[in-house]
Amino acid sequence: MPSLVSHPDEVKVVSRRFGLGATDIDKYVELDGYKAVQQAIAKGPEWIITEMKASGLRGRGGAGFPTGMKWSFVPKQSEKPKYVLVNGDESEPGTCKDHVLFLHDPHAVIEGTMIAGLAIGSKLGFIYLRGEYRYLLKIVEKAVADAYAKGFLGKNIFGTGVDFDIITQTGAGAYEVGEESALMESLEGKRGVPRIKPPFPAVVGLYGGPTVINNAETIANAPHILLMGGEAYAKLGSERNGGTRLFGISGHVERPGVYELPMGYNLKRAIYEVAGGIKDGKKLKAVVPGGSSCPVMTADEIDVGLDFDQMGKAGTMLGSGGIVVLDETVSIVEFALRTIAFYQHESCGWCIPCREGTDWIKKTLTRVYNGGGNKKDVDNVQYLAENMLGRTFCPLGDAAAMPTIAFVKKFRKEFEDYIEGHKAGTPIITVEQLVGAH
């Protein structure tokens, strides 16, 4: 069972009920639960959206789009029903924050879904978890059932005349379904492949109706924002990056775990102070800062603030907040191959640059890894990855290309030395061992 960690530098907003038994609805209510949604019903959609905009909350799934703005894009009048869709299909390697959220505070996700529904005029919300989180679905299903039993969900919620329903379900194993339009396809009972955009989900989404899709952490922040006020929440973070964020710090650190830190918190401090520094006193080699799709940073690049803008300026991304730490013993060749093997496995195959590009890069890096590479392979890998960028319907192609480009650009010498050193060598491990799942 995932264990909880804590550090004095944490600012607990979305995690403030973790470990306090808030899966129990009475405990959740005792800890200010379901207050925000009742305020939201009393004060109306405009107030909700004003507070959400003031909060500076940006999407916690990875793209960082302003949440209040996203909600305001949904047309007020619509012939078709409107929907709220919570994306709990967390599958980006390095990312496990929503896992802890669903485990410890499922009612916050439910309450946030209701608030989003009120903001856009929807009466039905969906909470969609990845298939592997079936044990968490049981927890969320129980929380939903408890909320119905109390009259918090269903007809005439809290006796206010407002109706709202929530349906929960899981996927069945597909990273691509984390992409918002592929998620809608999957929820409609189809293969989870992306849709062409525009139209965007806010206008034509689930079942053709206007739909708000938000990451689970984003949605769970909404009740806290309404209770503390948008401006107060914004002040917790940095400029244009309101509030706090759940960061998962994994890999070679002494105290891996999910920590809630203010937006803009220094990455170096997050690794060395919050997560206790590099495991076993080794040296830091590199950091993948926001899930496996984010360009890798070298050890001397990490003195930077953890928010969408500062990470962008540093040439990488904040992504999903999954910080993966690599010590000096890691082979970047092996790490790059494991990363691309994932994207090759998960490409839905619709767009040729992604389907073929990930496959060629994996094959080339596999050959290099097994000692059969030559220096031109490094150029080929970079060329292939650069030709995938921006040429696919959904971001999976970019998610595979961006880290690949960064690996070969920042660690080219290591690739070349590896090729040179293994020219006549035997494979370290077999291809079957390394890419057995693929």
């Binding site: 929503d98 990845r130 009972g189 494991r338």
Partner: protein, 174 residues
């Protein structure tokens, strides 16, 4: 009561399916959950499962097959009673995921997608299971086991062999 006269599912699962097709704006939305629940009960997605689910949602069997072939957790052949899924993605790899996988292969005497002759265990190398901060981790059926060592894996296998069950909130060997 199920609308299907001769359902292959238990009364509980049949009743759940009857309910599932009524809750969504379009009943096709029930397809992926139904395939998962069917697999939980039958062990895999058999031809009979496909046939009955297609009838229940008014789809062609081809439509069902088209969807089931897309998702990696759905299988068309039986697995062991306990399906051991070892994560080797980046965070697990950095903390010994491949050693855990090799140990499982050695201990169970089977490879990726293999099943032990007694049918108790099957083994799979899988992509990220969302347990990055508690790596290395494996999933056995729907139970997570994290912060693993090869010794802990041995204890786990013995516990499963002895028929000790694990509750859904992750009672494990730590």
């Amino acid at each position: 009561m199920s609308e299907i006269a001769n359902t292959i599912f238990s009364p509980e699962t049949a009743a759940r399916f009857d309910h599932l097709v009524t809750i969504y704006p379009l009943k096709r939305s029930a397809l992926v959950p139904m395939l998962l629940y069917a697999q939980d009960e039958i062990g895999y997605i058999s031809d009979a499962v496909i046939s009955e689910i297609a009838q229940r949602i008014d789809l062609l069997e081809l439509d069902v097959r088209n969807v089931l072939s897309y998702y990696s957790m759905l299988r068309t052949k039986p697995a062991g009673k306990y399906n051991v899924q070892v994560c080797t993605n980046i965070s697990c790899m950095l903390r010994g995921g491949y050693e855990i996988l090799d140990h499982c292969k050695h201990k169970l005497g089977i490879g990726h997608k293999g099943t032990t002759p007694d049918g108790v265990f099957s083994l799979e190398e899988v992509e990220c299971i969302g347990a990055c901060c508690w790596a290395p981790a494996i999933q056995i059926n729907y139970d997570f086991h994290d912060d693993l060592t090869t010794e802990k894996v041995d204890v786990l296998f013995q516990m499963y062999r002895d028929g000790l069950s694990f509750d859904a909130t992750g009672k494990d060997v730590k």
